[in-house]
C-alpha cells in the first residue's frame, strides 16, 4: 500500500473515522485502532513479514525491561548485545548475506580458487532497516539510562509499528514519540489542517517532481554511454531532484498523515539543497538517520573528542556505514566515502559548524559568495548521487568521465520522445517555490492558502505521472 495509491486513499479516511469517532474516548482505544491499522498496513506489503516485525518488537520490549532490571553491568551488557546481535542478524541475513557471500567468492576467485557460495532467495522485508534502527535506539537509550523502559506492550508496539513511519521513517526516538503515545490525543483543527497541506505538498514532490525527473534520469543513466555532456549533467541534476522529491515527499506525507492523528513526527528534511557546505547538507538531509548515526555511532566512537586523526576516522566510519545502510552494493559505500571526503576539509579546518545560522540573499558580495557556496555544494552532491544511482562503481566513473570529456552541450532528443532539457522549467519553478518557503514546513499555509491549495491540486492531477508508476526509492532500503 503506497501513500500515493487509491488503496491508501480509502484506508486513511477509514482509520481517521475509527480513531476520532469510535476510539476517541480513551488513549487505549486510540492506540488499539492505530496498532491494528499499522499491522494491516504492513501486511498489505507481505503478511509473512508481520511475524518478523512482531518478533523484533517483542525482543526489544523484553530486552529493555531485562536491561532495566539487571543488577550487574555484565548482565545489562549481555541483554544489550543479545538484542543488538539478533536485530542486526536479521538485517544482515535479509539485506547483506548475499552481498557478503558473493563478495567472498570473488575474493577467493582472485586468489585462483573457486568457491560456489550458497545464495539465498530472500525478499527484503519492507522497512526492516527503519524499524530495526528504531528499536535499537530505544534499547541503547535504556542501556544508557536516558529513558525508562515501556511496560505497556501495545504502546511500545505502536512506537515501533506506527504506520506513517513504518516503512521508510522518519526513524523516531522513544523520547519524542512515546510520550505522545502515552496520552489521549485531542483533535486539533490547525494541526490536522497543517497535516493535509503537508500531504498535498508531499504528493506534489512525489508525483510531479520526483516521478517526472525519474523518466528523464532513468533514460539518461540507462543509456549514459551514448549521451552528451549536457544530458549527463542534466541526468545528475534530475536524479538529485528525483531522490529529494521522492524521499522528502514521502516524509511530508508521513508527517502530514501523523498530524491527522494528533501525533508529531521528527522532521526529516529541511531544504537540504540550499546548504552552503556539505556539513550543513547533512544536518538537513534525512535528519533522523544522520542524527541516529551521530548519537548511536559517532558519539560512542568518541565523536569529535581526541585528535584530528581520531575525528577523521570516526567521520569516515559513519559515512561508510551510512552508505552501506542504504544497500548491499559498493556504489552506496562509494557514495558514503565521497561524502566523507567532501566533509574532510571542513573537519580539518574546524569549519564544519560554520554554517548553522539562517541567511538571506541580497545584492551584495556576501550574498554572491553564499549563492556560489550553495551551487558548489549542490554540484558536488550531484556528483555523489551519480554513484548512488549507478549500477556499479565503474558505470559511475565512466558516467563522470564522459560528462567531462564529451564537450557536446546541445539538447538531445531521447528515445522516449522528449528533449533532455525540457524538464528544467519545472525543476526551476520547484526550486523557486522551495526557496520562497524555506522558513516553513510546507508552502501552502499562510496567505492565499486556498489558491495555493488549488494550484497544488491542479499540479498533481495535470502534471503528475500516473501511467508510469514508480515506487518510493527508500522503500527498498
Amino acid at each position: 500500500m503506497f501513500f500515493n495509491s487509491l488503496h491508501f486513499a480509502i484506508f486513511l479516511p477509514i482509520v481517521f473515522i475509527l480513531y476520532w469517532f469510535v476510539g476517541n474516548k480513551s488513549k487505549i482505544n486510540q492506540n488499539y485502532i492505530l496498532i491494528l491499522a499499522s499491522y494491516y498496513f504492513y501486511s498489505c506489503w507481505d503478511w509473512r513479514f508481520l511475524f518478523l516485525l512482531v518478533f523484533s518488537t517483542l525482543l526489544d520490549y523484553v530486552s529493555a525491561i531485562k536491561i532495566e532490571k539487571s543488577e550487574t553491568t555484565s548482565e545489562r551488557k549481555m541483554w544489550l548485545w543479545l538484542c543488538i546481535t539478533i536485530n542486526l542478524g536479521f538485517l544482515g541475513i535479509f539485506k547483506y548475506y548475499n552481498f557478503f557471500a558473493s563478495s567472498f567468492a570473488e575474493v577467493v576467485h582472485s586468489f585462483g580458487f573457486t568457491a560456489s557460495p550458497i545464495l539465498l532467495k530472500l525478499i527484503l522485508p519492507v522497512g526492516i532497516s527503519f524499524y530495526t534502527f528504531h528499536g535499537l535506539s530505544y534499547i541503547i537509550d535504556i542501556y544508557y539510562k536516558r529513558i525508562k523502559s515501556e511496560k505497556n506492550f501495545v504502546d511500545y508496539s505502536l512506537f515501533v509499528s506506527y504506520f506513517p513511519l513504518l516503512v521508510a521513517g522518519p526513524i523516531e526516538r522513544a523520547t519524542h514519540l512515546l510520550p505522545q503515545i502515552k496520552v489521549r490525543r485531542k483533535f486539533n483543527f490547525h494541526k490536522a489542517q497543517e497535516g493535509i497541506y503537508q500531504i498535498v505538498w508531499g504528493l506534489v514532490k512525489k508525483v510531479v517532481i520526483a516521478d517526472s525527473c525519474a523518466i528523464y534520469a532513468n533514460e539518461i543513466f540507462n543509456h549514459y554511454t551514448t549521451m552528451n555532456s549536457l544530458s549527463l549533467i542534466l541526468g545528475a541534476i534530475y536524479f538529485a531532484f528525483q531522490i529529494y522529491g521522492d524521499f522528502s515527499g514521502y516524509s511530508d506525507i508521513a508527517l502530514g498523515t501523523s498530524k491527522l492523528f494528533g501525533i508529531d513526527l521528527l522532521r526529516n528534511f529541511n531544504y537540504p539543497y540550499f546548504s552552503r557546505d556539505i556539513a550543513e547538507f547533512w544536518r538537513k538531509w534525512h535528519i533522523s538517520l544522520s542524527s541516529w548515526f551521530r548519537d548511536y555511532l559517532y558519539i560512542p566512537l568518541g565523536g569529535s573528542k581526541g585528535n584530528k586523526l581520531f575525528q577523521v576516522r570516526n567521520t569516515f566510519i559513519i559515512f561508510l556505514v551510512s552508505g552501506f545502510w542504504h544497500g548491499a552494493n559498493l556504489t552506496y559505500v562509494a557514495w558514503g566515502f565521497l561524502n566523507a571526503l567532501y566533509f574532510l576539509p571542513l573537519l580539518l579546518l574546524n569549519r564544519n559548524r560554520k554554517n548553522v545560522d539562517d541567511f538571506t540573499l541580497g545584492f551584495n558580495l556576501d550574498s554572491f559568495r553564499t549563492l556560489f557556496n550553495i551551487l558548489t555544494t549542490f554540484a558536488i552532491t550531484c556528483i555523489a548521487w551519480i554513484f548512488f544511482r549507478s549500477k556499479t562503481i565503474t558505470d559511475a566513473v565512466l558516467y563522470i568521465k564522459r560528462m567531462f570529456e564529451n564537450h557536446n552541450f546541445s539538447s538531445e532528443y531521447f528515445r522516449i520522445e522528449r528533449y533532455s532539457n525540457e524538464l528544467l522549467a519545472l525543476v526551476l519553478i520547484f526550486v523557486v517555490i522551495e526557496w520562497n518557503n524555506r522558513h516553513k514546513i510546507e508552502p501552502i499555509s499562510g496567505k492565499l492558502s486556498w489558491l495555493k491549495l488549488s494550484l497544488c491540486l491542479a499540479a498533481i492531477v495535470a502534471l503528475g505521472v500516473f501511467s508510469d508508476y514508480k515506487e518510493f526509492i527508500y522503500f527498498q532500503f
Binding site: Q193, A458, F466
Partner: protein, 294 residues
Amino acid sequence: MKQFLLFLAKGLALLLLTLVLLDVLYTAVYMRSDSRSKIDYLFNSKDKNYDVVFLGSSRVNNHFVPKIFNDQGYKTFNFGITRSRLEESALMLQMMVERNYKIKCLILQVDLNINTNDHSEAIRSLFMPYLHTSKTVRDFYRTIPEYNELLYIPFYRYMHYDARVGFREMYHSAIHKKTNALENEGFHPLMTSDKNLIPADLSKYYPKRNKGYEEIKAICKKNHIQLIALTTPMCMETINRDYFNHLQEVYPEIRRFENAVTDDKYFSTCGHLNKDGAEEYTKVVFKALFKPKK
C-alpha cells in the same frame, strides 16, 4: 472536528472543480487539434473519399508510399500507426465510417500483429479525448475494465494515460506544434541503418484467430469496402520464416508479400524497410494488385 470536516469538504469540492475544469480545457484543446496524430486528423475530418487506405502498425506506417499510388491516379492515405495493433486498426476503420469516409479498398497489414488479441496502451491513449464526443469510441471501449472510471470521473482519462495525452501533449496541441505524422500522406520513411541487421526471431509467434481482424472483415463487408489483408517484408535472416505458412493456414485469404523485397540494403531493421525499400515494396504491391488509372 466540524471545522475540519468542513475544510475537507471544501477541499474535495475544490478538487472536483479542478478536475472538471481541466477536463473541459484538455478536451477543448484536443477537439481543435488536427495535426499532431493520424487519430486527431481522422477525428477532425469528414466526408473524405479514398480509393485506398492503409491500416496497420509501423510495418504499414514505414512501408507504404501513398505517392506511388497517387501518381497512378489513385487517392490514398497511409493511416498506419507505430505500435498500433489490430484492435486499434478496427477502431480507426469504425471512426472512418462514423466520419462518413467513402473508401473503396482497405489494405490491412496482417502478419506479426495477428499473434495478440491484446491492445496497444500507447495507441488506446490517443482515442481517450474523444470518449465523450464519439459514440464509436465509447461503444468500442464499453467492455474494458476501467471504462466507467474513464467515462465518468472527470479528467481520469488524461491522468490514466498521461504519458500520451497528458499536459505535455495538450500543451503541444494548444500551440499547434506540428509533428511529421501527416507528412507524405501519412508515410514515414526510415533511414538506412549503419549496423548489421539483427535477425528477428519468429519462433515464439503462433498465428491464431484475431478478434480485431474479424471485426475489420465485418466492417468492410457491411460497408462494401474491398479488404486486402497482406503480409509485409521481413529480412531474409529472420528465424522461422515458416511462420507465414502457418499464418496462411489460419487465414487463407491473406496475400503473401513478406518476400517482396529481400535485399538487406532495403532494410532499416529486420522488420522495417528503409525509404528505398518502402518504395520498392509499394511498387510490387501496386503491380500485383492494382492497375494504373492514368
